[in-house]
Amino acid sequence: MELTTHKGRTSSRTPEKVASMPAQPSSRKYVGLTLNYLLMSLLAIFFLFPVVFMVISSLKANENQLLQDVTTVRAFIPYDDISLQNYNDAFQRFPFGLYLFNSLFIVTCIVVLGLLVNSLIAYALARMPFPGRKLILIIIVALVVIPFESVAVPLLLLVNQLPWFNGATTWINSYQVQIIPFIADAFSIFLFYQFFIDIPRDIEEAAFVDGASRLRIYWQLIVPLSRPVFITVAIWQFLVHIGDFLWPLMVTRGDTYRPLMVGMRFFFGQAPLHWGDIMAFASMITILILIVFLLFQRWFLRSAAFAGITG
């Protein structure tokens, strides 16, 4: 609509003027291009400097040098006493390996079990006509609206009372308390559902007529055909849950089941404050995730839009 008003206004221009528009002096074009890249490079520095600063600082074993360097550009230059001493210290002072294992174990379980559970219900909703189907779909869409933060406190009381197979009468301080509540995810179900309904029905029908079971159709037809949505959901869930902080902080007590992010907070809070060690700890977490990001960049960017939808 705005376009029509715009057209009305510019149509008064003379044809000669239009013809002269694209012909610009080429030197001006190069100046523009240079300014463009200059601006983009400055922005790149802005987005990169904390990470670069963190990694360089983590390599400076001499804490005094580190603290003096932060007031100058030398904060970004690795020189003098460069070593992995801080990394060694971080491992010595805190069970980084255990935290790392906990984080990876928890996230892997959430992602793998989540893909299975959420895609199965989505498949049933998309393809198998059963009573209550529409109602369940509405409920699931409604559940997307509930933010985790608003159920965290009552959920803590609930998991505190739940039994587990090993005879424990509470889930507090365990792996399952950090995994099971996050397996089913309304938004993931919806993403799967939406993808499945777009798959042409004839492909399945042929298999169906051929006597293949539903489970076999799901596993041998639907899953391979839906690889993009599986990867998107997996990446999205990974990104959300590797950074989980509020819930593990609430439900873990000692080091045994603590994930990286909560470990980081306690490492930061513990005296003596040794910035070199802290930067080493933060570098290890960040670099790990950045590597995963670089490997699956395309999928990360595709998943980004979904993270935005749920806010």
């Binding site: 904390p50 498949y123 869409v141 933060e149 608003s150 007529v209 935005g308 806010g311």
Partner: protein
């Protein structure tokens, strides 16, 4: 496409179909049950509990005093709670600054990257990379950057102002702590919305620009009369997402300031956790959770739009 099945019509009798239908129904429930059970136990029940607890004086630990029903007294208490009011103010202030700045910057970055120039994918990856850096870890790095005595940010401000600005104590200064957290949050979050804007830009039909060029519209005209109006939905969507983020503010505060100095950086979620876990006031924390839920209910708009669009495609 290779399919593991032959598409042949074998003998199907009516009884076979009937049997199959019944089996289908059981099977579909079997497919649906794991997810439904988990959602019921870990989302629906806790949500109903939050509403129920908010009407009681429920405590975290078993107490000598029995839990009793309070009606709306928890909600009445919120009206006179100065810390909660401060938290709501902080979230609102955070939103008023961060939502427009982050949205505008995201749009600007997307427009920059949407040019047909070499190296755009590298810049895109760089601008997006803070989004994947975990908040808990990067908050610690920023705490170091904001270091009151000898921090990099202070040194930078001093250098560009020829010694006129600073040194500031940032996170220890009641007036600067929240703006410092805002700055970090924008740095960390803007890449996500840039990607959403880039997707929006790529959906604008090129024919609109061609038509405008024929009419002799310059680049600013095209931006103002085509790009921005075409991106209206995206902008709306980004602003809602950033608003919700503003109300969810927690990790940065917990890591960097723990609400301080004083209550300068207390946020709704931080206060809720503080009341529920540290002061064991589950009833009151639940009332805050219910209010928080109502505050972020605007997120229903993008979700519904998304659902409606998906349903339309189905038809």
């Amino acid at each position: 496409m290779h399919l593991p099945f032959r598409a042949t019509t074998s003998t199907i009798t009516p009884s076979k179909i009937l049997r199959r239908n019944r089996k289908e129904r059981y099977l579909s429930w079997a497919f649906a049950l794991p997810a439904l059970t988990l959602l019921l136990i870990f989302l629906i029940i806790p949500f109903l509990l939050a509403i129920y607890f908010s009407l009681t004086n429920q405590r975290l630990a078993p107490e000598p005093l029995p839990t009793s029903f309070l009606g709306l007294r928890n909600y009445a208490r919120m009206l006179t709670d100065d810390t909660l009011r401060r938290a709501l103010f902080n979230n609102t202030f955070f939103g008023i600054v961060v939502v427009p700045v982050e949205t505008g910057l995201a749009l600007f970055l997307a427009l920059l990257l949407n040019q047909k120039l070499r190296g755009m994918s590298v810049f895109r990856a760089i601008y997006f990379s803070p989004v994947v850096t975990p908040l808990a870890a990067i908050s610690v790095v920023w705490a170091f950057l904001y270091n009151p005595g000898q921090g990099l940010i202070n040194a930078f401000l001093k250098a560009i102002s020829f010694g006129h600005l600073g040194p500031y104590t940032w996170l220890n200064d009641a007036n600067l702590a929240l703006p410092a957290i805002m700055f970090l949050s924008i740095w960390q979050g803007v890449g996500l919305y840039m990607i959403i804007y880039l997707a929006g830009l790529q959906n604008i039909p090129q024919s609109l620009y061609e038509a405008a060029r024929v009419d002799g519209a310059g680049r600013w005209h095209q931006l103002w009369y085509i790009t921005l109006p075409q991106l209206r939905n995206t902008t709306f969507f980004v602003m809602i997402a950033t608003t919700v983020q503003a109300f969810k503010l927690y990790t940065q505060v917990e890591v960097m300031t723990q609400g301080g100095p004083g209550s300068a950086t207390v946020t709704v979620i931080w206060y809720m956790v503080n009341q529920g876990i540290h002061h064991l006031h589950v009833g009151y924390a639940s009332a805050i959770a219910v209010v928080f839920f109502l505050l972020v209910l605007i997120r229903i708009i993008p979700i519904l739009r998304y659902v409606v669009a998906a349903e339309k495609r189905e038809e």
